[in-house]
Subunit: 391 residues, 2 copies
């Protein structure tokens, strides 16, 4: 994958959880960048999240140090000391201001970081800098089965602007707490306000549609760095150029979200839940999330059983406006419920469920609200992975 | 199990889902009874629930007809016609007022009741009346693996008062929509207001602590009938006698709740989550439910992995007041978290998890709020049962 201009990357093995893979990574911009970030809303936040939330207020930054294998969450004062030390050592190794260094951790909660193994490796990172952004995508994986990255080239005022994104999902989508880390690098020249707006809008329609707001992990973090190296005229919020940039960003985060869902623990199917004609957008989103989070819906999809009663029940308990006698449900285009009742096409519907991509559309016929949510099925494998996670 | 005086029961095979078991049952009081009921808060309600909710306003009743194998939910106008017909046929067979007959259904959603098979069997019920309340408990089972019943004898003004309860759980506890039906029969002489109050209080601390309010099925129903045959002085709310009755009732519904959880689909362990010293009771309940509903906590318990970080994270996203640095967590008496950090006793804790009964106590040290919630672990077997439910 092509890295945006002026960014370098580095990965090493620090044997944080166990030896055998690269688990410490650095994202480095040659120039100080404009930065924006979004963080978990969980009341229990990991030390690195607390630190980054403070630093992002400056709107600036130049490097991100990331480790997998340990979340540095629920680690008390020592956790914050360790997070600070990771940024201090990185700043020293690369000659940066400490405030320009961000830190992210993902992995097991409640175990102090093995700083004795991390410390010497941070200086080593400086010797390995290159443009291999893909290596970072691999180093931040936990139970992910494939690295997730995407890049785009757009034109702004005739200049070539690169945007690249990497993320790790791990865990089921709509997770109770699987950590989601996402790093986006761009050489665009863009002001802080515009960058904030573009990121917020992109995340709302992507990462926030594969997880419930209140259900975020202790570590979820999205960071974007824009170093201006492309040399385009400054992008400001509300301009045509902003729209081009924001659209590219939204498209990328949506694709990354899809990769996370596809790689849901034990998942065999990608499932899109769309609610149409709800009373309002808020109802549509709430209803779609209730269906997407229903264990009974997820297991039925896994079992190729078009048990639409479970969809109706989830809509019913979601608390949104619903008139049972008005609701239609479509499964990959097949109408399985008409006006709240089965259309008698369950056998055909069960066949449709054998597809790897499932699209469920619910038309509530109540208003104009709409929302889409991505999810996956729930399998025995999910249980197995999560019962054995630390062993 | 001893049936309260003046109650008779009957069960027959109507082959509603498939032949081979008794799936139609009648609870009959020789005298018109005082009745009280509580119903699902799901916006999508089954036809029998809608009907019972109307009839319970009279505060009276004499019979309940129940079927398993079909929920008569999402069945449109026909569903209501069928529910009405079931009560009409029952009333005719037993010489009752139709308004004194209640109906409950549990099973698959969205399929019309096979009335052609049910009709002839309702008259047959009249020929089989006896005091075998246990048979009813067996007839209302769906994926339950054992019938659930309990009885108590109490003294009120020197008179012997019998209370008997039966229920079906099916499904995991904290279910997205597993139907819970509970029928309580007593020969107590009690006024309507007192019966309502006793039932409400009992359900709040039992059935509502094994399921989330908004997560109820389309069919959940609790009905209590008091026929006064015991001959005690009328029990009124606020009296000493009321307290004796209410306490007995609460104890019974709690035991029935425990049976439901023990019989959770695929469950191997009974888990109690207790939150102590929360800011208030509401916070305690919300926090306990979040922990109890976390798939990651449930799978870790199944896997004998005392991954307490998942408990902290669930508390964090539950939205309640929490100060990480104050929280203690105990697992079957062993302190695994002190002031928000691991106590380093994970190996001992993993051993504790091999018990069949797990008790997790979280002390938030923030106030005086407390709540207990019952749940179970999440296993591959749960996924299997629910992927194959209709096949």
């Amino acid at each position: 994958m092509k890295a945006p201009k002026g960014f370098l990357f580095s990965t090493v093995e620090a044997a944080i959880k166990r030896p055998g893979r690269k688990d410490l990574a650095l994202i480095y911009s040659e120039k100080q960048s404009v930065m924006s970030g979004m963080f978990t809303t969980n009341n229990v936040k990991a030390a690195p999240v607390k630190l980054d939330m403070k630093r992002i207020k400056s709107g600036k930054g130049q490097a991100i140090i990331v480790n997998s294998g340990n979340a540095n969450a629920c680690t008390g004062e020592q956790g914050m000391k360790d997070a600070l030390e990771m940024t201090a050592l990185t700043a020293k190794a690369f000659g940066l201001k400490q405030g320009d260094v961000y830190v992210c951790s993902t992995g097991v909660i409640g175990t102090p970081l093995p700083m004795e193994r991390i410390r010497p490796k941070i200086t080593e990172l400086a010797d390995n800098l290159d443009i291999a952004v893909d290596d970072v995508a691999a180093a931040i994986m936990t139970t992910d089965t494939f690295p997730k990255n995407i890049s785009k080239i757009i034109k702004i005022n005739g200049k070539t602007v690169n945007v690249a994104g990497i993320c790790k999902g791990a865990g089921m989508i709509c997770p109770n707490m699987a950590t989601m880390l996402c790093f986006i690098m761009t050489d665009a020249n863009i002001d802080k306000k515009a960058l904030d707006a573009a990121l917020k809008s992109a995340v709302r329609k992507s990462f926030n549609r594969i997880t419930i707001d209140g259900d975020m992990s202790t570590n979820d973090t999205v960071l974007i760095m824009a170093n201006g190296t492309a040399g385009n005229d400054l992008i400001k919020a509300g301009s045509k150029e902003f729209d081009v940039f924001a659209k590219a960003l939204s498209g990328m985060t949506y694709e990354l979200s899809k990769m996370i869902v596809t790689d849901g623990e034990g998942a065999t199917k990608l499932v899109e839940i769309e609610i149409k004609n709800a009373k309002n957008d808020n109802d549509a989103e709430k209803g779609a999330l209730a269906v997407a989070n229903s264990l009974l819906v997820k297991t039925a999809i896994y079992g190729n059983d078009a048990n639409w009663g479970r969809i109706m029940a989830a809509l019913g308990y979601s608390g949104i406006g619903i008139k049972e006698e008005k609701a239609d449900i479509f499964l990959n285009g097949l109408k399985i419920v008409g006006k709240g009742m089965g259309t008698g096409r369950d056998k055909e519907a069960n066949e449709k469920l054998k597809n790897k991509e499932i699209k469920i559309v619910v038309d509530l016929h109540l208003g104009k609200g709409a929302a889409k949510v991505l999810t996956c099925d729930l399998t025995e494998e999910y249980v197995k992975i999560n019962a054995e996670y630390r062993t």
